[in-house]
């Protein structure tokens, strides 16, 4: 296990290193002077020279890269071009909003999708199974930004049940939760379908296994057989899917955060790209990648924890 963890963490570091390299190269591959790009076409000569000096742009490329890596490792992702505030601080302000959104979106999708998939698999071809099947395909097919807009129109504008924009007043948990409902609904909806279908397929397979028949032959209650035995095995491929899904969800938060004018990593990246605020783009993408790698690593460890055969082979 320790060996496995070391190996996986090492691999993660390599991936993050590659991401840094790509992000860093982007600036150098774009034609023109990075300082001009960073400050925009209307910057003065003086400003450009000052910026180039501050950002070590006069150093050789490999040194610049090492400096960037070294800074990133100490948590210094550079300074915002406009406000001169540290990028790290800006990202940290926003990241919890994104994490809350992704967590809430995936959370409700799991709470609904996994039991739905189970029930559909336990009674295949029942009305519940058919309805779940149709709804799953429907929700998977609808893009999340469309759901966001419609949800905004119906629940916030027409019915006025929920707030339309923002993340709520700082410090007021209730208000923040109210603001979380619509975006979480929008980004989680298609995942209900994904998860229900995935869980149904693996449950159907597992329900046909001999050990499920054994459990029933020993007279265990159906609830215990389904959730304690079958789901325990069938959930394994779903955990991988959820882990990968976090990555996809981080990108769908971009739409949700823009539409609901919600602060967060996605909105931050979007605004920074629009304003050509490269240090922010670099830093935020790096953090998002790191998050994704961490979640995938976590899901792999979770699988190992659930399946003793995997756990011991590590």
């Amino acid at each position: 296990m320790l060996y496995y963890l070391t190996k996986r963490l090492g691999l993660s570091a390599v991936v993050i290193g590659l991401v840094v390299l790509v992000l860093f190269s982007l600036l150098h591959f774009i034609p023109g002077d990075p300082a001009t790009i960073a400050l925009g076409p209307r910057a003065t000569e003086e400003a450009i020279a000052r910026y180039a000096e501050k950002m070590h742009l006069n150093e050789p490329v490999w040194r610049q890269f090492l400096i960037y890596i070294g800074n990133a490792l100490t948590g210094d992702l550079g300074l915002d071009v406009f406000s001169d505030r540290p990028v790290t601080a800006i990202i940290m302000e926003r990241i919890c909003f994104t994490l809350a959104l992704v967590g809430a979106g995936m959370g409700w999708a799991m709470l609904l999708g996994i039991p739905l998939g189970c029930l559909a698999a336990v009674k295949p071809n029942s009305w519940l199974d058919r309805v779940t099947g149709v709804l799953s395909v429907g929700t998977i097919a609808v893009p999340s930004f469309l759901v966001s807009i419609w949800a905004l129109l119906i629940f916030a504008v027409q019915l006025r049940w929920l707030p339309a924009i923002g993340a709520g007043e700082p410090g007021q948990i209730g208000d923040q939760l109210m603001h979380l409902i619509l975006p979480a609904f929008a980004i989680g909806l298609s995942w209900v379908g994904y998860l229900a279908r995935m869980v149904r397929a693996s449950m159907l397979e597992v329900m046909g296994e001999n050990y499920i028949r054994s459990a029933r032959a020993f007279g265990l209650q159906p609830r215990r057989v389904i959730f304690g035995y079958a789901l325990r095995v069938a959930i394994l491929p779903t955990i991988t899917l959820i882990g990968m899904g976090f990555g996809g969800m981080i990108s769908s938060t971009v739409f949700a955060e823009i539409i609901f004018a919600r602060p967060g990593l996605g909105k931050l990246i979007f605004d920074a790209v629009m304003a050509r605020n490269f240090p922010i783009v670099q830093g935020a993408v790096l953090v998002a990648t790191g998050l994704y790698i961490l979640v995938v690593l976590f899901s792999d460890i979770l699988i190992a924890w659930f399946d003793p055969r995997v756990r011991e082979s590590l």
């Binding site: 060996y3 050990y211 028949r213 054994s214 029933r216 032959a217 020993f218 325990r232 095995v233 003793p308």
Partner: protein, 686 residues
Amino acid sequence: MPKDALHSPETLLDVRNLSVDFRTPQGRVKALRDISFPIRKNRIVGIVGESGSGKSTVLWALLGLLAKNADVMGGEVRFGDRDLLQASEAQLRATRGEEISVVFQDPMTSQIPVLTYGRQMLDILYRRPNVSAAEKRRLAVEMLGKVGIPDPDKRIDQYPHHFSGGMRQRAGIAMALLTGPQLLLADEPTTALDVTMEAQIIHLLQDLQKELDATVVVVSHNLGLIAELCDDVVVMYAGEVIEAGEVREIFHNAQHPYTRALLECDPARIDDVSRKLPVIPGDIPDLTKPRSGCIYAPRCQRALPVCHETLPPDVARGETSLARCHLLDGLHHDPSWPPPLDVMTVGQECSAGTKPARAKHDAALLEVSELNVQFETVGPLRARLKGLSQRHVDAVLDVGLSVAPGETVGLVGESGSGKTTLGRCVLNLVPSQAGSVRFEGKEIRNMPEARFKPLRRDMAMMFQDPVGSLSPRKSVRALITEPFQIHGITGVDLDAEAERLAEMVRLPKHFLSRYPHELSGGQARRVGVARALALNPKLIIADEPTAGLDVSVQGEILNLMADLQAEHGLGYLIITHNLPVVRHIADRLAIMYLGRIVEEGRTDEVFARPVHPYTRALVEGVPQPDPDRRRVHVSISGEVPSLLNRPKGCDFAGRCPFAQDRCRAEKPPHVTMADGRRHACHFPLG
């Protein structure tokens, strides 16, 4: 059964007129037709039959756990004062596991891999709210100890994959007996196990039945197991009970022609190895068609016109026996039936001639010497981290073996003995680390595939699983002519070749357009033989050629293989764990244990006078289909050790009843005896 036996107070469970249909795309399969039999208290009842006889369907019907496409068409299952077929789901659930429990066929797949035995056993005891968790655990540990699991208080916290096959089956028995059920059902309890393990499980079941005063129902196709274990026997054929009675009645005085035929076909009962194996001609009838007359009539050697038209009567004999046959009673009663036991009733037409004399050539076809195959167990980096010096296990260790043209060599061993690895290595499918493999004098070990490919025409493999080794999307015609395409042989008429090969393996021509799932096990095996023979090979390596085949069919395949050998001078290397079969077909035997050949010699000599204690254990380990030849003790205990901790001395020392200090210290070298037999034992027997 006679009517008075039905209501006897000693009847624990009574099946009456049970009929079950399966809805399939081909129509309604009448899997059970009006079957009745009682299960008497404190007895071990065997339900014996071949595949398709409905024996497992009976078992699942008793538990109310039939497949979803099954319909119970009528009948009763009386258990105490209840009819289990009428019981509600909740009542059935209360019965399962508590009053009626099950030991499953395959312990590798019937225990959930992600829960510990402790958790699984605690779950079974969920209906005991008054018993504390600690007390439940104590009960579970006690039961694990009772079935012979060492250190039960530690092993209860382990998962199924920590247990070997035999240990898993022991744990399965412990789970089934945990609640103290009145009735224990065992579905092919030893089929997935090795011979030495099988003997241990049989004895365990017997001892526990006596100790716990339980009633046991064993479902099996294995006549030896039934004879050794059971008190009463129910014989099923194609969804009907055709004979029932006490075990001695069935094995020594069988009344029904099918029971008679089944017993005669069992290779373990046939001591005369020079004759061909008897077979029951024909196949099990199509159960979707309505029956008229006796279900066995189309295959029966003694069928009369009436047998095809009228349902035969159930003829009772004594208190507890019955057989369903016209020959036994009524107008068509034949006092000369059944004939004495030494008269064969089946396979008369193919018993002509003796085993063909095999041409012995001096030059060996295949010669393997000092062959070593190693498998890597850990990567180089991890081995260094963990400080392991040994990164490999020896799957095949210093093996020497030869096959002459026209000769059959049996390679016998339990699972994990390396016999299949050896076979694959000979065919260059697994790389080897040292030694030599010569085919017709030419060194072929680890030859690059490009150079080896032409040789594959001379060496063919018959794979273990007859149906699974055939591509499900190809017709039989395509399958048996595939070798021509693989080797890019043009200029042959593939249709003509397909017909020639089908005729050679006695497969009717209309089967050529069928697909593997439409074939029975025996037919699929014939296709496998035809594929292997397509390019006129000189050597055939057959991996468990009779595994999964019914007794009445395996004789056909073995006879076919013998005929083809006599005709074409083929050399066979037969890899198997089935000693009775190999005794009939092999000229020489090589016994493998943990990757090493421990004994090698002529088949008759090895059987008559085994030199290595392991060989003796194997020979004695086969349950005999004769209730008078039950063994009183198991000759060896324990199980095959893991390759990862190969013993320092003799590999078998840990289980050998004759082991001495020297055996544990020093690996015995291969010794050739005066009569040409080779063995690896410090203290050979005899």
